[in-house]
């Protein structure tokens, strides 16, 4: 009982082959698109790698790049095959390769689907990486004299300006770390010493933020210092003021940006997957109809095309048994666990007599 059987006349077969040839070339283009999307994602992640902790998130763009390249190769081959399928003599060249090709393409489309799903699942790992990375970056904001960390101030400032955000979850994160280096603190001043002493770890904490947190849309010149002190500034109310600084946290802003990017890429990959699946189905129909035509012997006859020769269950059973027998070919014997030292009764036809016969004694006397 074949699965989804369709009758194919000669003209329909030829048309199918031509259409599949064009579709395969379009798939090569989509493979290139996948490759470039993976490359773009890789570049975007690398650009902000200073703000992300050491989590393994590069596997997603790497997967997309690999899938894109393989798609190009597979569909290029598919295009050649379909081009030759119009002509029966050329088809014979590809007859043996077609089934393995279809199986490979089937597993490849599974990879494409996995790639698309990975794009959506990356969200949580990315959030973790950003959380840790931003905390680190803000901690080392003041260390502009330490090699290896001297650019973190610039990176964080540009991030806050570009993404219009402040701090990790909000601007209050800056109140909990010392972001002014000791080099610029006058230790002889009483106020500085008081602040340092008021803190357990001896950090200079203040209710101020760097200038990059300032909101451009504020009607008033930016208030950066003594943010929580209403009396320090004229006509200022800390609780109701929301236009002075950027309210969004940088983790949220970056996550939004990357999620948007990943969703677009994931959608494109899903559409590519559907396209590949349809091309695969077409190639399968073409292969089965051409093989049936060959079996019937007449190149101009009508033939059947199907997805599977028997029903799904039967095909699964036959394939499993094939795989099992392939496995058995290399085995010695499962009975004695393959130990060569155990006596195995001989099954050959030659019979040399019973074993426990004592040697013939010479009764002849001389």
């Amino acid at each position: 009982m074949a699965v989804l059987k369709v009758k194919f006349t000669k003209t329909r077969r030829d048309k199918l082959a031509q259409i599949l040839w064009i579709l395969n070339w379009i798939s090569v283009v989509t493979g290139v698109i996948l490759f470039s999307l993976g490359l773009f994602l890789k570049v975007e992640l690398k650009k902000r790698e200073e703000l992300m902790a050491e989590k393994d998130i590069q596997y997603v763009p790497n997967m997309l790049i690999a899938v894109g390249l393989i798609a190009c190769v597979i569909n290029f081959l598919g295009g050649k095959i379909c081009y030759d399928c119009v002509d029966t003599t050329n088809f014979l060249r590809w007859k043996l390769i077609m089934l393995p090709y279809i199986v490979c393409t089937f597993f490849f489309t599974l990879c494409v689907l996995v790639g698309a799903l990975m794009c959506y699942s990356m969200h949580w790992e990315l959030e973790e990486a950003l959380n840790l990375g931003l905390t680190q970056a803000m901690r080392f904001y003041k260390d502009t004299d330490m090699p290896g960390r001297c650019f973190l101030k610039h990176t964080v400032d540009m991030l806050q300006i570009q993404f219009q955000c402040c701090g990790n979850s909000g601007y209050k994160d800056w109140f909990q770390i010392q972001w002014i280096s000791n080099r610029y603190l006058d230790m002889s001043k009483k106020e500085v010493v008081d602040r340092l002493r008021s803190n357990v770890e001896g950090k200079f904490l203040m209710d101020g933020v760097p200038f990059s947190c300032c909101n451009i849309n504020s009607p008033r010149p930016c208030i950066q210092q003594q943010i929580t002190n209403n009396s320090a500034h004229f006509n200022y109310e800390h609780q109701t003021e929301d236009q002075n600084l950027w309210m969004k946290g940088c983790r949220e802003a970056l996550l939004e940006y990357y999620t948007h990017l990943l969703q677009s890429i994931g959608l494109t990959v899903l559409i590519t997957w559907l396209f590949e699946l349809s091309v695969l189905t077409g190639v399968r129909y073409l292969q089965t109809s051409l093989e049936n035509m060959l079996r019937q012997g007449d190149p101009n006859s009508e033939s059947d095309g199907w997805l599977l020769e028997n029903s799904l269950m039967e095909t699964a059973r036959t394939n499993l048994s094939i795989i099992k027998s392939l496995g058995k070919g290399n085995q010695i014997d499962t009975a004695d666990n393959g130990d060569p030292n155990i006596d195995v009764p001989s099954t050959s036809k030659a019979h040399y007599g019973p074993d426990n016969v004592p040697p013939k004694q010479k009764t002849e006397t001389n």
Partner: protein, 361 residues
């Protein structure tokens, strides 16, 4: 003596027509490129419209857009002429149009050259316009509650951060302007009262700059206020500090940006001029060669193509005469009628003189 004469066999004529057809389509794409270039420059100028006082510099992108569109049309006509050129029955109708076409195409080349020259010549005017525009922007920075000026603060802040500049000439421009609005000044405070009184105009001036002047590259958290007072900040030297704020003035930054933009389009425009000139010359050759071929008894034979039928001086004299005749034809000039009558009289006299035998021999 024809100018730059060349012989054209039938095959060469065909090749010339085909080559010119391709070249004219290339010129169409060049025209589209010029148009897009003009649109791009215009958009970039409009984006910073608020800090420019006049729009004189807009003549450059306007010209580019006009020339681009005209060039698309003219070169499309050229391609149609090429298609008809090898058909003797259809070619003659293009004769008058070709005259106009040559004039238009030469005018387009001249306009493109003018654009290149203008983009250099208008630099001074651009700087003037920016100077006045930025001065106003800085003056109205604090007026975020005045309708029509409420976005000046955001514009100037964005400009300073994007172009990494501060003030008009440098950051000291902010010291001369009150950029903190009176709404946020506590008039009961002694410090505020002192500052306002110390100034003739009653403005609140301070040696501080807005946050958008801060340089993110600086190793130290940004110092915005009390900039001239080296003692107000620890380990700070006003004269030698150069990383704290942006050192460039916004006028310089914007002028550099726009000049860079227009200069980088220079080579592109020059190559488009070259392509257009080659289209004009090839069209002239094609026209003369095909006309020559049509005049021959054997249309498949060789003909001559040239740029000008006679030498440059003679052609110029011819054209001048033609223009004079055209002008004379339209005139209802009593002077010329009198002159005509006089001439007629003189002719009659001469004839009489000739007729009458010379006196007294």
């Amino acid at each position: 003596m024809a100018l730059l004469k060349m012989k054209f066999s039938q095959q060469r004529r065909v090749r010339l027509a085909q080559g010119l057809w391709l070249l004219s389509w290339l010129a169409v794409t060049c025209g589209a490129f010029i148009f897009c270039l003009g649109v791009y420059i215009k958009i970039e100028l409009l984006r910073r419209d608020e800090v420019m006082e006049n729009t004189e510099i807009h003549v450059v992108p306007n010209l580019l857009m006009m020339v681009g569109l005209a060039s698309i049309g003219a070169n499309w006509v050229a391609s149609r002429v090429c298609q008809d050129s090898l058909d003797p029955s259809r070619f003659p109708r293009w004769n008058v149009i070709l005259l106009v076409w040559f004039a238009v195409a030469t005018l387009l080349c001249c306009l493109l050259l003018a654009v290149v020259v203008l983009s250099y010549a208008l630099q001074g005017r651009l700087e003037e316009s920016l100077k006045v525009g930025l001065r106003n922007g800085i003056r109205f920075y604090k007026d975020t509650d005045v309708p029509g000026r409420c976005f000046q603060k955001e514009t100037i802040d964005r400009l300073q951060m994007e172009f990494r500049c501060c003030g008009n000439n440098n950051f000291k421009d902010w010291f001369e302007v009150q950029w903190v609005s009176n709404r946020y000044l506590d008039f009961t405070s002694q410090e505020v009262k002192d500052r306002i009184r110390s100034n003739v105009d009653g403005r609140y001036l301070l040696d501080g700059v807005p946050f958008s002047c801060c340089n993110p590259v600086s190793p130290r958290p940004c110092l915005q206020y009390q900039l001239t007072d080296s003692r107000a900040h620890y380990n700070y030297e006003y004269q030698s500090e150069e990383l704290n704020l942006y050192s460039r003035g916004c006028r310089q930054a914007l002028t550099d940006y726009y000049m860079g933009l227009m200069n980088s389009t220079g080579p592109g425009v020059l190559s488009v001029i070259l392509i257009q000139v080659s289209v004009i010359l090839s069209m002239r050759y094609l026209q003369t060669a095909v006309e020559g071929a049509m005049a021959l008894e054997a249309p498949e034979g060789e003909s001559e193509g040239y740029i000008l039928e006679k030498g440059v001086k003679e052609t110029y004299a011819d054209i001048r005469e033609k223009v004079n005749n055209l002008l004379k034809f339209g005139q209802v000039d009593p002077a010329s009628e009198d002159a005509g009558a006089e001439e007629g009289e003189k002719a009659a006299e001469a004839m009489e003189k000739a007729a009458t035998p010379p006196p007294a021999s």
